[in-house]
Amino acid sequence: MATSEPLTASAAAAATLALLEGQRPATAPEQVPAAVSLPTVTVTAAPTSDQRKRTPLWIWGAALAAAAIVLLGGKGGLISNFTYLQLSLVLVYAIAVLGLNLLTGFNGQISLGHGAFFAVGAYTAAILIDRYDVSYLLALPAAALVCFVAGFLFGLPALRLEGHYLALATFALATTVPQMLKYRHIEGLTGGVQGINLIKPDAPFGVALSSDQWMYLVVLAMAVLMFWLARNLLDSRPGRALMAVRDQPLAASTMGIDIARTKAITFGISALYVGVAGALHAIIFEFVSPDSFRFDLSVALLVGAVVGGIASLPGALIGGLFVQVIDKYADALTKMLTESVHLPLELEPWTIYGVLLIALMYVMPGGVAGGLAGLARRWKMRAP
């Protein structure tokens, strides 16, 4: 096949999607995806080929700076181990939200059940590390693979579902997961209600870093890798196909894009992202149990995606930050709100989630990232 030139820049994730190309008729010209996505892509502004460019230097700089925090402080550190854990969790949720973005934002399949794949990733890693003494560095790709397969398999029946029905199926999945994890025959592996306790790995080669600092570096590296892969995937030809399926399924299939395969593989890739996040979460949190993966988690991921911007890569980072901050500070925040306006009831974090979700749908459907981009556009177009 002579279709590999858009793939040169992209790595593994894009290569997986290259499977999509299999049934494309040889006559399908190169401009297919662009032609399909031209009329409708307004929210995401998918880059056209001349816009395709390298990641701006400042992003790499920011990532390096984030890593350098650790080196500056050394083991005593500028910031406490607890803060490193918080930062790591932000990045972990960002990876998960990114996975949901790929599916819901870029491919148009709604999922209310990504907490399920988070759980699968977390448990895969925990079981491998705890029961089989596998190194955590190997457990990560294993969790990714398992989740890809799980997502792909769930995506197959889900292919026939659209919109609300897919939301319903994934909603059912999310509510069921804690119960499935307690299933009696797998209790030997999962530890049943008790869950599994892990121990955070130490820095290798006697590097003078605490394990929180080391894991922060690992998570940061994974986050950079995952975002880089996602960007390249979306810039590649399969990535355009993925968006074309969202915008104009009929036109896309006329152009020779295999819709079913695109959707199922996107589901798999999305689950892979969330699974990696789950595995990282299990390792840095040192604990998994069925009740950490209730429907709340899926809601949190959805909120993160919507707040950040459902079809935006930087939005995923904002979303991850939001999920972690709300998770951590919502109690304090709501208490403060309750006291300052003398409400007769106790507000809870979920109230903030709910109100934000609805309000964002009205005023900023593109999320924070979309809103900022809109402001920037208006700033550029302002009258001189």
Binding site: L112, L161, L168, F171, V299, L302, L357
Partner: protein, 300 residues
């Protein structure tokens, strides 16, 4: 054998609740093409209102009547103020708004009434019938469901308002041309759904006790029931609700039986939600129209 009958009877009783929830879901679906993920939490919130009325000294039925009226109002307000502005928005937006509503009702109930489990009285005598096969409350649940169904059926069949609502759901454009106020019909549908949910909540609360999570699994079963019967058919949804209730109990029963006979644990009470998930996915993939629903063909 007696145990089997008992299981079927209690399956019918919980099926009555699923039927109510399924019916509420269908009301909203036929009127607006939306699956209301917040239905369970709305019903839960209504049940707390009912409890509050009873705490202030009202009798069960008076409290329930007040709750139904108040829930109806809440349903109408939600449609008018929260969903109306988003009419015609993408499916994602509406799903997100429903999840937002779910979160709000859930946390408000927890915030106002705390998360501790509360007793909820049953209005029915606690006698049992047929040598302990079915309890008084279970019969009451089924009876209330059937009465409510009868009322709804008569409403839609014999009143002009019911006719107008059906017209608005079936063909909004023509309905508007003959003078039906379609947007108010949608709000009415929401109000009715909320009212039905309130009854379902008050009926199920004595069994599962009152707490913010009480409707989560009920909602899933309600969805399963609605899908089995056909999400566009009210009668089918009720039938599906009962069927799912019975299936749920039979699965647990035969699960116990196989464990007793063969000593192998396959499935039991711990997997009830999984059964619902399997029903949902099977119906959605194999027969999305359900048993009695309209098959929707899409013109391309």
């Amino acid at each position: 054998m007696e145990q089997l009958l008992q299981q079927i009877a209690s399956g019918l009783a919980s099926g009555a609740i699923y039927a109510c929830v399924a019916l509420a879901l269908v009301m909203i679906f036929t009127a607006t093409d939306h699956l209301n993920f917040a239905q369970g939490e709305m019903a839960m919130f209504s049940t707390y209102l009912c409890w509050q009325f009873m705490q202030s000294g009202l009798g069960f039925w008076t409290a329930l009547a007040a709750t139904v009226a108040l829930s109806f109002l809440i349903g109408v307000l939600i449609e008018r103020f929260i969903l109306r502005p988003l009419a015609g928005a993408s499916v994602l937006s509406s799903v997100v708004v429903f999840i937002g509503l779910l979160a709000i009702f859930h946390s408000l109930a927890g915030g106002i009434w705390s998360h501790t489990i509360k007793q909820f009285p049953s209005p029915f005598p606690s006698t049992t019938l047929g040598a302990g096969i079915i309890g008084g409350h279970q019969i009451g649940m089924v009876a209330v469901t059937l009465v409510m169904l009868g009322l709804l059926f008569s409403f839609f069949r014999f009143t002009s308002l019911g006719l107008a609502m059906r017209a608005a759901a079936q063909n909004p454009v023509s309905a508007r041309l003959v003078g039906v106020r379609v947007d108010w019909m949608l709000a009415l549908g929401w109000g009715l759904a909320a009212a039905i949910g309130a009854v379902a909540g008050a009926m199920v609360a004595p069994v599962v006790y009152l707490e913010p999570n009480m409707m989560t699994s009920v909602l899933l079963y309600g969805f399963a029931g609605a899908l089995v019967g056909g999400i566009s058919s009210p009668g089918g949804a009720v039938f599906g609700g009962f069927l799912v209730g019975v299936i749920e109990n039979l699965v647990a029963y035969f699960g116990n039986l196989t464990e007793k006979l063969f000593g192998v644990y396959v499935i039991g009470n711990g997997e009830k939600l999984t059964v619902a998930l399997i029903i949902v996915i099977t119906i959605l993939t194999l027969k999305p129209a359900g048993l009695f629903g309209r098959v929707i063909t899409k013109r391309v």
